[in-house]
Each structure stands twice: as C-alpha cells, then as structure tokens.
C-alpha cells in the first residue's frame, strides 16, 4: 500500500501527486502541492473500471468518487472519436467518398446502438465494456 497526495483542481477534478521516494511524503506535500491537499492511501482511490475515468473523479472531503454522468460524457466522446476514425478508415480503404461510410447501414446502426448503450449504462464497468 502506497500513499499519494490528492487535491481538487481547477478543472473540477482531482489531481493526484505521486512521490518518487526521493523525499518524505510530508515534504512533498508542502513543496509540491497547494494548501488543502491531503495524504491518502492509494487503495482508497477509485479502482477497476472506475479508475479508467480519471477525468470524472471528484473530491468530497477526503473521498474520491466517480461522477457517473461525467464518465458517460467521457465515454461518448471517446466513442464518437473512434467512429470518426473508423469512418475515415473506410473512406481510405474503399477509396470512395466519406458518404460511403455515412451511408453504410451496418456502420450507422452500430453507432446508434453504441450510443444507446452508453446512454443506458448504469455502471462504469458497463461503459468500459462498450
């Protein structure tokens, strides 16, 4: 079990400062972190699928939680970025216009299904599986 330092950041998220071990963590707290930062065991940070949505972490007291609506928004952005990549790939592969991908019924159906799955997800584990 290791200790890290956490504090709320200006993005509304949580910054995690990990000491390298060159200095005692109490010195790192004073030297590298803003006032109000606290030392916690890293085992108290979100684990598993929750850990994959770092930008959705929020600090409440000394507890880090995952804002699920933020996690869904992050997943949707990732999903849409992949969809754009896939559309571009199909255009390159077929040497046809971008309409080729847009008009691909299977492709658009998979996008609709994926976005619906994200909207209906109730856990971060479900989001990761999409």
């Amino acid at each position: 079990m290791s200790q890290v330092i956490i504090h709320a950041n200006s993005n509304g998220g949580v910054s995690v400062t990990v000491p390298t071990g060159e200095l005692p963590i109490n010195e790192v707290l004073v030297k590298d972190c803003p006032a109000g930062a606290i030392i916690v065991d890293d085992s108290t940070l979100p684990q598993g699928s929750d850990a994959q949505f770092f930008d959705a972490w929020e600090l409440s007291g000394s507890t880090v939680t995952v804002n699920f609506e933020k996690a869904k928004a992050i997943k949707l952005a990732q999903f849409n970025a992949k969809a754009v990549e896939e559309a571009q790939k199909r255009q390159l592969n077929t040497l046809a216009g971008i309409d080729n991908a847009v008009n691909d019924a299977d492709f658009t159906a998979s996008l609709t299904a994926g976005r619906a799955s994200i909207a209906n997800a109730t856990t971060t584990a479900e989001l990761v599986a999409i």
Binding site: N9, N11, V18, T20, E22, V28, D32, A51, F54, D55
Partner: protein
C-alpha cells in the same frame, strides 16, 4: 564523504577522454520514468520529487532540487497507446502554453488531433 576534483579533462586511462564540461553540462540534471495512466506509478527517478496527475495525459513534473533558472531543456517521449501520442513540454491539457518554473514543468500527452491521451510509459529528462 566530501571533496572536489578540479580538472579540465576526464580520461578512462585507455585513450578515451572528454572535456569535463561535457560531463557537467551534458548529463541529465533530472529524469523520471513513470506510468502515465490513472493507476499511477513511478518506475524510477533522479532529482524528481513527485509527479502530479492533473487530468488525462496532463502532468506536472516536480523537481527535488530546484534549478537556478527555468532555462533548462526538457526531453520527453512516451509509449504508444492505441493512437500515437506525442509528449509536449510546457503545455497543459487545453494545449495552452504553461511557462516553466525553476521547480516544476508541465507535460501533456496528445494525439495528432490534439486530444489528450495517456499511456503506460512516459519518460522525461532535463538538461541544464
């Protein structure tokens, strides 16, 4: 044990030598290799006290001993994670420039399209 050796040239006694300045100014004054994902981990470091994970792919490298000025040279790279990532010093996750300080450097990892990314292996070395 304390002591100082003053010389202009360092030699291995086998015909190989270099100006002492090369060792002084050409060696990294700080370096760190770390895991850049939200399951944070530091692999190894020298003159780096901590790494702060701010948001995905946006870090602050904090130095154990501050530099005399902020005119140091940062070299950074990272492993690929799905998309190819590039390490960009003195830049935050909004692609805005962040001025270096004597005690810390901002580092972001971005895909070619400017979106942030993170990866298991990030390497940073600093020369001055």
């Amino acid at each position: 044990m304390a002591g100082t050796i003053v010389c202009d040239v360092i030699s291995d006694g086998a015909g190989n030598s270099t100006a002492t300045d090369n060792a002084i100014y050409g060696s990294a004054k700080a370096w760190v290799s770390y895991k850049g994902t939200s399951t944070q981990s530091i692999y190894a470091s020298y003159n780096v006290s901590s790494v702060t994970y701010n948001t995905t792919g946006y870090y602050t490298i904090n130095y154990t001993n501050a530099f005399s000025d902020a005119n140091y040279c940062v070299v950074a790279t990272c492993s690929k994670e799905g998309s190819t990532l590039i390490a960009i010093a003195n830049t935050n996750n909004s692609s805005a420039r962040v001025a270096p300080t004597t005690s810390a450097t901002a580092l972001s990892l971005q895909q070619y399209n400017g979106s942030a990314g993170d990866t298991a292996y990030v390497y940073v070395a600093v020369f001055r």
